[in-house]
Amino acid sequence: MSARRMLAATTLAAVLLPGCATRAPEPGTSVAETRFDTLVVPGRTTRAELLAAFGPTKTVVFDSGMEAWLYTAPAAGGRHTELVLLVGRDGIVRKLRKRPAYPTDPVP
């Protein structure tokens, strides 16, 4: 391969292969944790109720029809607690989990 081709390919690759350029993760919609605890009940709460109560948020939709939803709640030190929901194919919340803020989390 000529030097010119090598240079062109390397330049193109630098543009095309942003393996080292990670975007900051998109946060979920911030909600009040106490209200979230009151309103969200796995096995009963629906997608429509989530949207009505807390609005849209970061969501990952899978080929299986399942969805993972991320809300956040303010925590100490400017960090946040993650509130993660698994919404089933029927639109009903199947699971809920919380990830607390850890001291090792970066401060936003």
């Binding site: 390919a9 095309l16 292969l17 975007r23 993760p25 080929d63 991320l70």
Partner: protein, 271 residues
């Protein structure tokens, strides 16, 4: 954003055909080979280098063994009945594939000299490949962080990851060493679980932490348009990043999983 490709440029990759006669018997099975080289076949030399890397870095996982594993990438690929062979110009070495599509690569000097390829009876781009480093005796639904660190180093050394286009794969390899990928928070090396994931937790002594949401599902940033260029394409719900770069977590850290479904089904347990 992960690595991307320009599909139109792939047209430049037209496979050539090669026919070869077998060499006289040298103590191994040899046959007449008609082999169509695919430029995206896995390099036997690289995979052997990956195995050598495993030996050099064995301290990360002293009790572990190494296998390689085939995983689905294309939505239509049939993962049953896969056969595998090491194919050079004058040699073919069959490779036994286990029911979970894992295998051990035999070492063969002639195949090394001939710069052979590791070829499956599927289109190479329909699957993704990984190293599988497993310490025996771990609890169910748990991995060991040192095993994952070694999987990353071996997988990168062996050239297994196929997020970028084949056309630019060699450039990608030139620009990203195993150390750059496996020792950096931006390395973005994907791991896969056996079943769809809901949560991943690290345990080291008294320290326990749940991984943040953006460590799951390839960061949760993959759009429908981007997925075909990620080797998580059909395994998105089984995909996670582990903090293999973070040395505050020792090699003996246990990585445990909670799944979307509490009980596996036969279909889900076989990716």
């Amino acid at each position: 954003m992960r690595r991307i490709v320009l599909p139109a440029l792939l047209a430049a990759l037209l496979p050539g055909a090669a026919q070869a006669q077998a060499q006289p018997d040298q103590g191994i099975q040899t046959v007449t080979v008609t082999y169509t080289r695919d430029p995206v076949d896995k390099s036997y030399r690289k995979m052997i280098r990956g195995m050598e890397r495993f030996q050099r870095e064995h301290a990360l996982a002293p009790q572990a063994t190494l296998r390689f594993r085939l995983l689905p990438r294309s939505p239509t690929v049939d993962m049953h009945g896969i056969t595998l062979r090491v194919a050079g110009d004058h040699i073919t070495v069959p490779v036994a594939v286990a029911p979970d599509n894992s295998f051990v690569l035999p070492r063969n000097e002639q195949a090394l000299q001939e710069d052979a390829a590791v070829v499956a009876n599927r289109k190479t781009t329909s699957m993704t490949w990984r190293a599988q480093v497993t310490t025996p005796g771990l609890p169910p639904d748990a991995r060991r962080l040192g095993d994952l660190r070694l999987e990353c180093l071996v997988g990168m050394e062996a050239g297994l990851v196929s997020n970028s286009s084949p056309l630019f794969g060699w450039i990608s390899n030139a620009l990203t060493s195993p150390e750059q990928v496996c020792n950096s928070p931006d390395g973005n090396f994907l791991f896969f679980t056996e079943r769809p994931l809901f949560s991943v937790t690290l345990h080291a002594g008294d320290r326990t932490e749940i991984l943040p949401f953006h460590f799951l599902y390839a960061g949760g940033e993959q759009t429908r348009d981007m997925l075909p260029f990620c080797d998580c394409q059909v395994l998105l719900d089984r995909t996670y990043y582990a903090p293999i770069w973070d040395r505050s977590w020792p090699d003996d850290t246990l990585v445990t999983f909670d799944y979307m479904d509490d009980a596996p089904t036969a279909q889900e347990s076989t990716p």
